[in-house]
């Protein structure tokens, strides 16, 4: 069996989703954003919603997401993606509307918009990337930074008396009446990526069928901000992030 026999379109088993274009991504090597972008592209392709999807970009590392996926995007003001998505979904009720936000956008500057959009039960899907740090601006402390974790603005580690406690937005969202599907996933290995894909697909379907707000938190790495290699960052995340941010479904009212 020669190489030329195997490399043949009929033997193709995995390739980059065609919705993802060839623009080189600005993300650091090994960044979790790439994996989640790929999942979003694959899911939209599988659902055949390419022409009927509107994504809302955040401010943060994913600010250029509109450059990489060939769907319709809107760039919202910092933290205002859920408010923007509310308007889009109400004007285009048959469209799939999702926001793609980081922890600085969703859990810090946009907390009011996030909580009120979820409390109103807007039929949108929210993808929340939680890497416990402000990646784009150079690794400052975020609301989700773990206790004792060192960042550029808390060089001696986060302390409760000085900085308060890490914010669990996902648990907070589960208490709101308007939300229908709340889950926390990760993308550190193949099995976790497959679970995240299922979760995002379910969130997108909930958006289309109008069941309420779905929130998929993706616990992810920021190896540049954490000053680790991508492989070490995944190990650090498993050891330190997962005990505080346990993975799994937190709320699912769509089951019955």
């Amino acid at each position: 069996m020669t190489k030329e026999n195997i490399i043949n379109p009929q033997n193709l088993v995995y390739k980059k989703p065609s919705l993802m274009n060839n623009t080189p991504m600005h993300y650091c090597p090994g960044c979790s954003h790439g994996m989640v972008h790929k999942l979003v592209a694959e899911i939209i392709e599988e659902m055949e919603m390419t022409d009927n999807t509107i994504g809302i970009c955040p401010v943060g590392c994913a600010v250029f997401a509109y450059n990489y996926l060939d769907i319709d995007w809107i760039e919202a003001a910092h933290g205002r993606a859920p408010a923007c998505a509310t308007a889009v979904k109400r004007l285009w009720p048959d469209h799939l509307v999702f926001t793609y936000q980081g922890d600085g956008d969703f859990a810090c500057i946009g907390t009011a918009e996030s909580i009120h959009a979820m409390n109103r039960g807007e039929n949108i899907a929210i993808i929340f990337i939680n890497n416990a740090i402000y990646g784009m601006t150079g690794g400052q402390m975020a609301p989700t930074t773990l206790m004792g974790m060192k960042t550029a603005t808390c060089p001696y580690g986060r302390q409760a008396d000085l900085h308060g406690y890490p914010l669990k937005m996902t648990e907070l969202a589960a208490n709101l009446e308007g939300t229908c599907y709340i889950t926390r996933q990760s993308v550190h290995n193949v099995a976790a990526i497959n679970r995240t894909k299922k979760a995002i697909r379910k969130a997108f379907e909930n958006s289309l069928t109008g069941k309420g707000t779905s929130l998929v938190e993706v616990v992810s790495t920021c190896n540049a901000g954490w000053k680790l290699t991508p492989v070490q960052a995944n190990k650090w995340m498993e050891e330190n992030m997962f005990p505080y941010y346990p993975l799994g479904d937190i709320k699912d009212t769509t089951k019955e």
């Binding site: 995995y14 390739k15 980059k16 090994g30 991508p230 995944n234």
Partner: protein, 80 residues
Amino acid sequence: MNRIAGIIVVDTERCKGCGLCVEACPKKIVRLTEKSVNKKGYPYAIQTESELCNGCTSCGIVCPDGCITVYRKKWKEEQV
């Protein structure tokens, strides 16, 4: 006997050399180049012993930049 052969094709110019595919490969046959780099200056992923590859797609799934394309072919040994 049924055999499965896999092969990966890496978009070397898009690869950033993060090494996640090296860690994800169950057969440990993907590695990063040691001496050559791409135009951006990153070492890139290459497949070393391609006869061991069974096309499981693990490397492709974990690649954040979508640089890896995987091909898999099944065939009967007598045909070779």
